[in-house]
Structure formats: structure tokens, C-alpha cells
């Protein structure tokens, strides 16, 4: 597997309407790895994700995708980025007016209308099979559980073979068994298809299971950036507190 950088940010300041949520973020994502961004609620994890996927322009700094800087003012540049990524949203974000088949097929229908109906069906069925949702393809999102919707949304995110899939709180609202199944799915996709994942979460069990590299954001800046093993062995009191769920330590550090 190529150990090349696929996403890199330099001195990134992120936020809304000029209000900085986090700053000086230097993030490096290597191809074929699962990078987890973690931190306390409201620390800027989801804002970082929105920025890296091109939905929110940074306040300052740059985002590079496969060595090319993303120009947030250029529709063409953003379209180039969108073609190479898939996103799994916290709410799944499946279109409620379409059934699962139509949802997963949406990127093909809209961007590649020349692909025949039969081939499209084959592509969608394969993806839904990979996430264990093929039997449900005629059902509508409202008829499915949260875990099923997440799986289907993952199938949609993968449909055009993205190089990177971004996941915003994939385990949110799921029971431990379903969440574990989703983690397993990501690991399989990484192993089988070499897909890179950038996962925003604060589910410790999930992090332990899937993370190759971890970025920890605390107090508007990066607290840790490196391999998961290094994080585990870290003596940093905040990280110890985060992993041991030690409220006393965390309180002390916050004050």
C-alpha cells in the first residue's frame, strides 16, 4: 500500500463567520489509513470535517488534496474534490423521497447518466451487498433503523469509488453492536479496497478498534497528532484523562 499523503492542511484556522473554532491545524492523512479526529464536544471536530470536505471555507490556512490546494472560491476546484471523496453524515443524510436503491444510485444517475440501467443496478447492488443492505434496497429511509440508514449512506458514499471517505460521528445514536458492525465494515473496506477514512468521533471503543492515526483537538488547537499506539502510551494528562474517562483530571486540565 502506498504510504503517500492524500490530505494535508497547513496552519488551518476554522470557524463560522470569522469566529475561530480551532486554529493552527496541521493535519496529514496518509493514503489507506484510518485517521480519527477526537476531542470533547464542541471542540471543532465537525467544523474541521466540513472544512476539509469543502463545505466551509477556512478562515486562514490551506487544504491540499493529493498535493493540489483546494480553492474554496472555485466551483471547479471543489467539484474536483467532490469527485474523489465520499461523506457519511451524522444523520445519514439519505434523501427521504428516494428509496435506498435510488439514493445509492444518485451520484451515478446525476453524473453518469450514460451508464445503462443494468450496470447501474449491478453497481448499486454490489455496494449495498458490501454493507449488508441489498435485501432492503426497495425500502425508504424512513422505514429503516438508524444503523441501517448509516450502512446505506456508507454505500452511497462509496458508490463512485472515492479515495477518501469522511465519517461524521458514525456511531452516534447506534447501539454498541451496530456501531461495532459499522467499525468492522470500515476496517474491511480499508483492507479490501484501500479506502482512506477520516473519522470524527469521540467513541473510545470505536477509536481503539479502527484508528491508525489520531488527531486530538483541545482548547481550539491540536493536542496530539500521531499514530494510535503512541496516543495510547502518551503520558499527557489530558489524553490519559480522555482515555480513562477520569473526570477529576479533565476538570483540572480544563480549569
Amino acid at each position: 500500500m502506498r504510504e503517500e499523503t492524500i490530505i494535508q492542511t497547513h496552519g488551518l484556522s476554522i470557524g463560522y463567520h470569522g469566529t475561530v473554532v480551532a486554529s493552527d491545524i496541521d493535519l496529514t492523512v496518509k493514503r489507506g489509513r484510518i485517521v480519527v479526529v477526537l476531542g470533547k464536544s464542541g471542540c471543532g471536530k465537525s467544523t474541521l470535517l466540513k472544512t476539509v470536505i469543502g463545505l466551509l471555507p477556512p478562515i486562514s490556512g490551506t487544504v491540499e488534496f493529493d498535493g493540489n490546494p483546494v480553492d474554496f472560491n472555485s466551483e471547479q476546484s471543489l467539484q474536483r474534490l467532490f469527485r474523489r471523496i465520499g461523506v457519511l453524515y451524522q444523520n445519514s443524510a439519505l434523501l427521504n423521497s428516494l428509496n435506498l436503491y435510488e439514493n445509492v444510485a444518485l451520484p451515478i444517475t446525476m453524473h453518469h447518466p450514460a451508464i445503462s440501467h443494468e450496470i447501474r443496478r449491478e453497481m448499486v447492488t454490489n455496494r449495498l451487498r458490501q454493507v449488508g443492505m441489498a435485501p432492503e434496497m426497495e425500502r425508504y429511509p424512513a422505514e429503516l433503523s438508524g444503523g441501517m440508514r448509516k450502512r446505506a449512506a456508507l454505500a452511497r458514499a462509496m458508490i463512485l469509488d472515492p479515495e477518501v471517505i469522511f465519517c461524521d460521528e458514525p456511531s452516534a445514536g447506534l447501539d454498541p453492536i451496530t456501531a461495532s458492525g459499522l467499525d468492522e465494515l470500515m476496517l474491511n473496506l480499508k483492507e479490501l479496497l484501500g479506502i482512506t477514512f477520516l473519522v470524527v468521533t469521540h467513541e473510545l471503543r470505536s477509536i481503539e478498534r479502527i484508528a491508525d492515526d489520531v488527531l486530538v483537538i483541545q482548547e481550539k488547537s491540536i493536542r496530539f497528532n500521531g499514530p494510535f499506539q503512541q496516543l495510547r502510551d502518551s503520558s499527557d494528562p489530558f489524553i490519559r484523562a480522555f482515555f480513562l474517562r477520569d473526570k477529576a483530571d479533565a476538570k483540572e486540565l480544563s480549569s
Partner: protein, 348 residues
């Protein structure tokens, strides 16, 4: 008073919600100026109500002392009334709706309108960017979904306007001119206005609620990251559908509204259907029908663009969806009335 000259209050064994009245009666008689000693020695049980009362006393009475607090009770008091948990950053600061800045809002509305015309033109030219079958689906929703209410309302308006005018005309022996009043009034003014208002309430509200919910549920973001333009993907089918639905609805409304007037003419003023029709044709021309239709088309597009504008600018979750939906109906109806006045000034 005890030896320390404090008012000694022996608290009951159960400092709980069930005993609230009894404790309140006991403590309510205290004078805030008096030094008080609260004796917890008998207290065995305490709940959040009891803790809240103690906490309240501590805040209200400047000179209060607690005695006999066991470590367990002290811990309970700390838990119930303890320090505030740190407030997490909200991450995304509360965004104000664009409508809070009039100038900016108007600019955004105009930009959206210009974009939408470009998107419709682009779609008609290239036939891309709209989900297959969506125009038919929207046409069905807007046209079939609205025809009965448009029919009922315009029929009643036709009847009402005819009854109101018939009385005056009968007094002057000018019964037959009822056909002119109803025909001209309905075709040029009342059908476009009423159809516009009904569409604003029915179609506009539904468009705003749908787009706003999609925005809140990240579906709009998902469309962006799938490389689709949500303003085109969601709005173009609706703009084209309303363009197709309006002529059908207006034709139906004209027929039904005038028929209402004809019924009044026949049974109130004694004008036969044939005489009514023939008299109406002496004053109503094809231009009037086309002007009425054109006005309604403009109203229809304004409704869709206003509704989309409010839907896309939503924030603040479910509350925002409700606010945006209400605002979209108000905005659409206001714009319809303003545009109708402008049309009237230009045409008469």
C-alpha cells in the same frame, strides 16, 4: 434561640418532596434578619427538593449555619446543588438568519433569483442537473394537489363578487352588466390573486418545509459533496413544474369562478347562461386571459423562489423550519400583493 443566640431549627427526618408543605410552613416563618442554625441531626433522607430548599435558604439568609450534617448528606447537597458543569463550546456559533439584515437578505434573494433563471435556462438547454422524473412528480404535487382547493375557493369568490355586484346593478336595472364585472374581474384580477395566494399557502409552505428539513438533516450538504448543486437539483423541477401547473390551474379557476358568477346571474338577476356568456365576450378579450395567466405565472415563480430562499436560509433546527415556513408564506403573499399593485399601475 440557642446559647449562640441563633434560632434553632430542627429539620425533620425526611427532607423530601412529600413533606414540602410542612417544611415550607416551618421555614417560611423565618425572618431573613435572624441568625439561624439549621440542625440536620435528625435528617435521614433528602431528595432534590429538600436540597433545593436548603440551597435557597443558604442564598437568601445571610446569617445561617448548618449543624449535624453527616458526610453522606453533605455529599448529597454537593451533588444536588454543586458547581455548574463546564458549558461546552457550541462549536458552530448560533447563526442569525439572513433575514435579520434587510440589505443582505434582499441581495441574497436577488442572487438566488438570478441563479435560478440561469439554472432553468441551463437545464432546458442541456437537460442535466435534475433528477429524472422529478418534474412530473412536482407537477403532480402542485397541479393535482391544488386543483380542488383552487376550484372551491375561486368558485366561492365568483359567487361572492357576483352577489355583491348584482344588488347594485339590479337597483339600476343594469343586470346584464354583471357578466362584465364577473368576467373581467375574475380573469384579470381575482383568479390570479387567489390562485397565487392559495399556491403560496399550499405549495410555498411545502417547498420551504421540505428544503429546510433537508438542510437541517444535512441532505443539502450531502448533495453538495456528491457534486450536485442543491439550488439547481431542488429548485429547477419546482420552477418548471409550477410553470406548467399554473396555466392549467388558471384555466380551471377561470371556468369555475365565472360559473359561480353565472349561477348568481341566473338565480339572482335572471340572466340566462347564454346571455351572460355573450355579454362577457363583449368586454373580455384574449389579451385579458393572457394577462391574467402571465400574472399568475410570475406569482408562481415568485412563490417558488421565495420559498426556496427561506428554506435554504434556515438554521436552528426544527424551530427554524417552523419559522422559515411561516416567513415564506408571509413573504410570498406580500410579494404577490406588491407585484399585483405594480401590474395594476402599469396596466390601467
Amino acid at each position: 434561640m440557642d446559647s449562640d443566640s441563633r434560632l434553632h431549627i430542627l429539620l425533620p427526618s425526611r427532607l423530601v418532596l412529600e413533606n414540602y408543605k410542612e417544611i415550607q410552613n416551618h421555614l417560611g416563618r423565618l425572618n431573613p434578619e435572624d441568625p439561624v442554625l439549621l440542625d440536620f441531626s435528625q435528617v435521614e433522607q433528602m431528595d432534590s427538593t429538600g436540597a433545593a430548599m436548603i440551597s435557597y435558604l443558604n442564598k437568601t439568609y445571610p446569617d445561617i449555619r448548618c449543624d449535624g450534617l453527616s458526610p453522606r448528606l453533605k455529599h448529597m447537597l454537593d451533588v444536588f446543588t454543586g458547581t455548574d458543569a463546564p458549558t461546552p463550546d457550541s462549536g458552530e456559533p448560533a447563526k442569525t438568519l439572513p433575514s435579520s439584515h434587510w440589505g443582505e437578505s434582499v441581495k441574497q434573494f436577488m442572487v438566488l433569483m438570478a441563479d435560478e433563471f440561469a439554472h432553468v435556462w441551463h437545464y432546458l438547454w442541456r437537460r442535466r442537473g435534475v433528477y429524472p422524473g422529478e418534474i412530473h412528480h412536482q407537477l403532480f404535487q402542485m397541479g393535482y394537489g391544488s386543483y380542488w382547493i383552487v376550484s372551491v375557493i375561486t368558485f366561492l369568490v365568483g359567487v361572492t363578487i357576483a352577489l355583491t355586484s348584482a344588488k347594485q346593478l339590479n337597483d339600476f336595472g343594469a343586470n346584464i352588466f354583471l357578466a362584465d364585472v364577473v368576467g373581467f374581474g375574475m380573469i384579470r384580477e381575482l383568479v390570479p390573486l387567489m390562485t397565487g395566494i392559495i399556491l403560496a399557502g399550499k405549495v410555498g409552505a411545502s417547498i420551504t418545509a421540505e428544503i429546510a428539513s433537508m438542510k437541517v438533516l444535512e441532505e443539502v450538504d450531502a448533495l453538495h459533496t456528491m457534486g450536485l448543486n442543491p439550488e439547481k437539483f431542488l429548485m429547477v423541477p419546482r420552477l418548471i413544474a409550477i410553470g406548467l401547473a399554473v396555466p392549467l390551474l388558471v384555466t380551471l379557476a377561470n371556468i369555475v369562478g365565472i360559473f359561480g358568477g353565472m349561477l348568481v346571474g341566473k338565480f339572482y338577476s335572471g340572466i340566462s347562461f347564454k346571455a351572460f356568456y355573450q355579454e362577457m365576450l363583449t368586454i373580455v378579450e384574449l389579451d385579458d386571459v393572457l394577462i391574467g395567466l402571465g400574472k399568475t405565472l410570475v406569482f408562481g415563480w415568485v412563490i417558488v423562489i421565495s420559498s426556496g430562499f427561506k428554506g435554504f436560509s434556515v438554521s436552528r433546527g426544527a424551530l427554524g423550519v417552523g419559522i422559515a415556513t411561516t416567513e415564506s408564506v408571509v413573504l410570498s403573499i406580500s410579494l404577490i400583493i406588491v407585484l399585483d399593485s405594480i401590474f395594476a399601475l402599469l396596466m390601467y
